[in-house]
């Protein structure tokens, strides 16, 4: 009998107030900026100045989000740390690269190079917690976080771990953002105000954040939800998604009508939001539909914000008005499906249950 996986603690640093609050009651929909920045926690409450002096922004956010998740789960030790990040600590990568180019490879110092290594967040959390267990970092665009989640779930199923810290981290950096604007990945200022559900322009509103979760093999009083399944598929055509979802649900003895809410990754990119619109208008027309990237911004691990949100919904049985796509309601939110993709690639399906 495979062990079940429960979310027993969550911690989220995002472009909204997602710590020291109840649940998105202060959330604001910013329709004018093309890039959203995180609301910074007071780092000093979590990290001593002596240890934080060399830490990249992403490392600090990762440490705070993981500390929040651990506190929420009432746990002081974890067996494993598994993270996902699309770009890693890109600010330090920029810094080191600029130093190389500007100083003709002279007078370089190692700190920003070390911070630019993709696994630096997971590694520094391990250092902080003195956790000598398994420590993986996934870097694969929009499914970086789901890769970590799937790995964590497998570890629990294989009975290799009781408690796993899993999270997704990405940070904004100025020059990289300017390149993304140049390449058209980010929306143009002149196209604002943005309405992510009805956009006709290409590109996305960018964001950043760190969301961590404590996954355990035991159901507890403070359990948020059970993770039933996670699936990652690289390539799907728009018309293949429904079939994929049906077989994914079937593998978990469920069907479309069993889904009490579906969380869709609408990011306002008119070129690829068809993937979600199709589902919203047809497959899930009778299902409560939710979205979140208007709050979190789009980034490689934005889907970790979605998992945070879905976990909260299952626990509180409340859906904040601001995340609703339609007005369909259900008396109980027992099963939630999360679907995300970016540019028609890196599709992920995550299934949660009460």
């Amino acid at each position: 009998m495979k062990k079940k996986t429960y979310i027993n603690g969550v911690g989220c640093i995002s472009t909204q107030k997602t710590f020291d609050t109840v649940f998105l009651e202060e959330a604001a929909y910013n329709q004018n900026d093309t890039v959203l920045s995180i609301i910074k926690p007071d780092y000093k409450d979590f990290i001593s100045p002596a240890s934080s002096r060399r830490m990249a922004k992403g490392v600090k956010n990762g440490i705070v989000a993981s500390a929040l998740a651990m506190k929420d789960a009432n746990t002081e030790n974890v067996d494993m740390i598994i993270s996902g990040t699309g770009m890693g600590c890109i600010e330090d990568s920029e810094k080191f690269l600029k130093n190389i180019l500007d100083n003709n490879e002279e007078f370089l110092t190692p700190t920003s190079f070390i911070q630019s290594t993709h696994n630096t967040v997971g590694a520094q959390i391990a250092l902080t917690l003195q956790c000598k267990g398994y420590n993986f970092t996934y870097v694969n665009g929009a499914i970086s976080f789901e890769s970590a989640l799937l790995d964590a779930k497998m570890q629990i199923e294989e009975d290799e771990a009781n408690t796993v810290l899993v999270g997704g981290i990405d940070e904004n950096a100025d020059y990289t953002l300017s390149l993304f604007k140049l390449a058209g990945f980010i929306k143009k200022e002149q196209d604002q105000p943005f309405n992510l559900l009805t956009e006709t322009s290409p590109g996305v509103v960018y964001g950043e954040g760190a969301s961590f979760f404590i996954l355990e093999n035991e159901k507890k009083e403070n359990t948020y939800a059970e993770i039933l399944d996670v699936e990652i598929i690289n390539t799907l055509e728009e018309n293949e998604v429904e079939t994929q979802i049906v077989s994914f649900l079937k593998a978990n003895q469920l069907q479309i009508s069993d889904v009490d809410a579906v969380v869709l990754g609408f990011n306002g990119d008119a070129t690829f939001d068809g993937y979600y619109k199709n589902l919203a208008e047809n497959t899930f027309a009778q299902t409560p539909q939710l979205y979140y990237k208007h709050l979190s911004g789009e980034y490689n691990t934005a889907s970790a914000f979605a998992l945070w949100m879905a976990s909260k919904i299952i626990k509180t049985q409340e859906i904040p008005e601001i995340v609703k796509v339609n007005q369909v309601e259900k008396p109980v939110y027992k099963t939630i499906l999360l679907y995300n993709q970016y540019n028609g690639k890196n599709h992920s399906f995550t299934l949660l249950s009460k």
Binding site: L97, A183, F185, N346
Partner: protein
Amino acid sequence: MKGVAITGMGILSSIGNSVEENFDSLRNEKLAITRIENITTVHADVIKVGEIKKTNQELIDELQLTADNNFSRTALIGTLAAKQAVENAGISSINEFRTGLISATSVGGMDMTEKHYYDYFTNPELIKYIGCHDGGDVAEKIANELGLKGMVTTISTACSSAANAIMLGARLIKNGKLDRVIVGGTDALAKFTINGFKTLMILSDGYNKPFDNNRKGLNLGEAAAFLVLESDEIVKKQNKKVLARVSGYGNANDAFHQTASSENGDGAFLAMKKAFEISGLKPSEIDYINVHGTATPNNDLSEGRAILRIYQDEKVPDFSSTKPFTGHTLAAAAAIEAVYSVLAIQNGIVYPNLNFETPMEEFDLQPQTTLKNKNIEHVLSNSFGFGGNCSTLIFSKD
């Protein structure tokens, strides 16, 4: 536990552009550590590297890519190695079974980013390369070239990345999530890494000498290697030739320092211990250890101590580092060394640890310095990375 079957391999490194060429170089002690040619750097006269002596254009031609492609060098060599592996495994229909790709890289498309960083705004033709910076883009391109549609992901844990990709692939098959997984890693040389390692003062100005008392650091290298792992069901159904098996694996964290290994090699010790647990093998059953052996003062001391802790009073088996041949190829290192481990099993060969002269004063451990022929049932391969990331793989004869 029999372990997960390896049915195909592909590799590009400084010592050869195919499995056969690599084996030939290893057997004939042909190392390939030279001055750097493909990258302009102020350190060109100081450092030596393990470089694949092919230009990007030559690689593009080999892959028959169109002129508007935006492949980074990391993706180019990765795709070539993955294609070799798939062909070697005799796979004609890639999506016939539930097939995944687990890639590994440390720098991803940094080679293009650093080349064009300030020119993007003035040269519109370069804009296509902005999207090829991140690690995931490399896997994306390999999957696309293979026509693979299923699960694709990438691991980046510095110099142990590919070991972790192999580990995940084996677990996905054991867990029944996938039937077939293409696993490995790729990293092209980049100014970014050369200067990064330079700032850490762990680059040798000569040839790297693993486990030598006078070792002065590592030579960087570039490489890509992929292996095909398949479930026993496929092996049986298609009567596949099994090259060797992944029988053990372990990952642990040293939790000691961001770049250095601990005095006693705690992480390394725990990783090896875990791999033995998974494989059900005893340390004495290992015939050859392909050590991480980067030839930095810190790594070899820490790794040596960890090995001694594993073997306690028992005799440490023949061991050698193959990094004097290829240089340290970072996220690809564990993948090329997996290929070398399989070749060691297939051919009954322990590779020589080149450049070794003086035993280390801290302990009584001497690598195998000449080519040795003997029956090899089990090989243990270590790979350790920054952030205390320690991984061990065990390969066994089918």
